[in-house]
């Protein structure tokens, strides 16, 4: 619905793709690991190989958790916007169909956080 206003009320979105200097935003969450308070936000070039996120970025973000070293990525399954989704690790973000401000999360079977508490 339109904003009730005395005059025309339209604004450019503050977070348009072109404001991120060649990067696009990608949000990544790890299911059952609430030790990390929320999903993370990352700026990545669309040409980046998806597997590079797993190899080079996620260890810095999630590596504190003792479960992280135990992840078998071939068993992990993914969701994009809440729906099942399968990434190709060798393709780029763009070729995986990831757009600006997409949200993905991964589930790691058998790993349920500290003492199985989803933390």
């Amino acid at each position: 619905m339109a904003v009730a206003a005395v005059t025309k009320y339209e604004f450019e979105p503050k977070d348009k793709l072109e404001n991120f200097h060649g990067n696009q935003l990608l949000y990544i969450g790890w299911e059952d690991h609430l030790l990390f308070c929320s999903p993370f936000a990352f700026p990545f070039p669309p040409t980046m190989r998806f597997g590079d996120i797993i190899d080079n970025v996620l260890p810095g973000a999630f590596g504190y958790h003792p479960d992280f070293a135990k992840i078998d990525w071939s068993q992990a399954y993914w969701f994009k916007s809440g729906k099942p989704w399968t990434p190709d690790f060798d393709k780029s973000l763009a070729d995986n169909g990831l757009k600006h401000k997409d949200v993905i999360r991964f589930h790691t079977p058998g790993l349920q956080g500290i003492k199985g508490s989803c933390n």
Binding site: A4, P13, K101
Partner: protein
């Protein structure tokens, strides 16, 4: 000799009539809609402004006299407190983080409330609400000033509050209270009155001020406590104004009810999300607790608010629907919030810590349905790691909710093991939300929230570094640059309480006051 004739004194009611409504006039050169251009566009219909009741009948001259007297008393208490090194009498230096949170998160909102009521007052054609708004506007700027003065004594000794207003406009989590108020003040005058005057000042204020002021009293902070008492009579007037506004609008025209209901739904939720900060303050930041967040929600909202909405049912107003979700969150809110600040302690203007054993027991007794199962394992792990010198500092930036701007920390209603994700596509852009309520608020007025200044996105756009910073140089440390932009000093204003300068100084100074060292 001339006889002096005693002047006839006006009675209170006459005096009020002369000093407020008597000052109003009907314009003849200008059209009413030109003088009051914002009064119609929100769709609220007012037929008779004279139906406005003035419960306090306060006139400007009396206001001036009362407030001056109150402030004289307040400042003499503050002086005595300062001269006697009152800051060393607080329960524990951890308490001071509550003061930092209040000063950077809440006091700037008092100033915004001053502006908001001044603006709303200017826009109302009726002299009754105009005068009431004028007085509240003055109250709010006085509260901002007296709070700053009450806290300034602490600023001489402790870290993190030296540039609170600068922080309010920049620091990531402070965008939550800031954007809440910016949303209200950029609405029309009627929505502003319902958002701040009613939903915040009437429905939620007890959940903000009672915890802070009684928390101050319980923890030996005489400065904040005295401010609280001084403000109390004003707050009573604000609550009455908030209730009067709602009744007046609803009685004027039955078409107003659905508009007002939408505002109450929106602003109860928006206000509640801001109170996340208060929830964690009550359950974690007060060394001596007053009551739990859950208990205070039950008393002040579920009981008192329940009675209020029963009373408003005759106008067709219902309990806001978000109350159901809030009831599900009350076992989790404070723990999820404190965990977030524990995660992100490197980027905040106050310290965090893990609760000790006694505090864990208290939490587990107050939250028997949630604490031991969901939060104790997390805290015990963090404590063990900290003891090994591996304190957790999460340095990756969080995903935020587009509406409330809080990181996406909240779990699905009814399932505390799953983060709640909601999203909307609007004009080829994606927007994310922490809850159905934040999503609905966006969907009703998307153009308002597409402009949101989300701190995480602003950092990634390169807008949160000091001027002249080159983020492309090798070894660029974004967190260090962001802290400089916030005017916070790494290692002094942020990180864990354990090992902080505040902790060391407090122990040393209190030691000097109580021991022969």
């Amino acid at each position: 000799m001339d006889m002096q004739v005693a002047k006839k004194k006006l009675g209170l009611k006459e005096r009020y009539a002369v000093m407020t409504r008597g000052l109003d006039w009907t314009p003849s050169y200008q059209k009413m809609e030109d003088i009051y251009p914002y009064i119609a566009y929100e769709g609220i219909k007012i037929h008779d402004w004279d139906k406005w009741e003035d419960p306090f009948r306060l006139t400007m001259d009396a206001y001036w006299k009362y407030q001056a007297e109150k402030e004289r008393k307040l400042y003499s208490v503050l002086d005595a407190y300062t001269q006697n090194n009152g800051h060393l009498n607080v329960t524990d230096a951890r308490y001071l983080n509550t003061v930092k949170l209040f000063l950077s998160g809440i006091s700037p909102l008092e100033y915004m409330a001053h502006r908001g009521f001044a603006h709303a007052g200017r826009q109302f054609p009726g002299p009754g609400p105009r005068v009431a708004c004028l007085m509240q506007s003055l109250d709010e700027i006085r509260h901002a000033q007296t709070q700053v003065h009450a806290v300034s004594n602490y600023n001489k000794y402790y870290n993190g509050m030296h540039d609170f207003h600068h922080a309010h406009d920049r620091v990531w989590f402070l965008s939550v209270p800031k954007s809440f108020f910016d949303d209200a003040i950029t609405a029309g005058p009627f929505e502003f009155m319902v958002s701040i005057g009613f939903s915040f000042e009437y429905v939620l204020t007890n959940l903000l001020f009672v915890p802070f002021v009684s928390g101050a009293a319980y923890n030996g902070d005489m400065a904040a406590m005295t401010f609280g008492f001084s403000a109390q009579s004003d707050e009573a007037r604000h609550m009455t104004l908030g209730l009067e506004v709602i009744k007046f609008i609803l009685e004027q025209d039955p078409d107003n009810a659905p508009i007002v209901q939408r505002w109450i739904d929106k602003w109860t939720w928006r206000g509640y999300r801001v109170l996340t900060l208060v929830a964690m303050m009550m359950d974690y930041m007060l060394p001596k607790r007053t009551m739990s967040w859950k208990e205070s929600w039950e008393i002040y909202f579920e009981e008192n608010g329940g009675a209020l909405f029963k009373d408003l049912a005759r106008y067709g107003i219902k309990m806001p629907k978000c109350a159901e979700q809030i009831a599900l969150e009350k076992d989790h809110l404070s723990h999820q919030a404190w965990s977030t600040f524990y995660n992100l302690a490197a980027a905040a203007n106050f310290h965090t810590w893990m609760p000790d054993d006694d505090e864990m027991e208290w939490l587990s007794a107050k939250y028997p349905n949630s604490f031991d199962k969901h939060y104790r394992p997390r805290y015990e792990f963090w404590r063990e790691q900290a003891a090994k010198g591996n304190r957790f500092y999460n340095k990756t930036l969080p995903m935020l909710c587009q509406t409330c701007q809080i990181p996406m920390i909240f779990t699905e209603p009814g399932d505390p093991t799953k983060i709640c994700y909601r999203e909307v596509d609007y004009k080829n852009e994606k927007y994310h939300f922490c809850s159905d309520h934040c999503k609905e608020i966006f969907e009703h007025e998307p153009e308002k929230y597409v402009q949101a200044w989300l701190p995480v996105h602003q950092i990634y756009q390169g807008n949160c570094f000091p001027e002249g910073t080159d983020p492309t140089v090798e070894g660029f440390d974004p967190l260090a640059a962001v802290l400089k932009y916030y005017h916070l000093e790494h290692g002094r204003d942020n990180l864990d309480f354990e090992g902080s300068e505040d902790q060391k100084n407090f122990a040393e100074w209190r030691g000097q006051a109580t021991k022969n060292i």
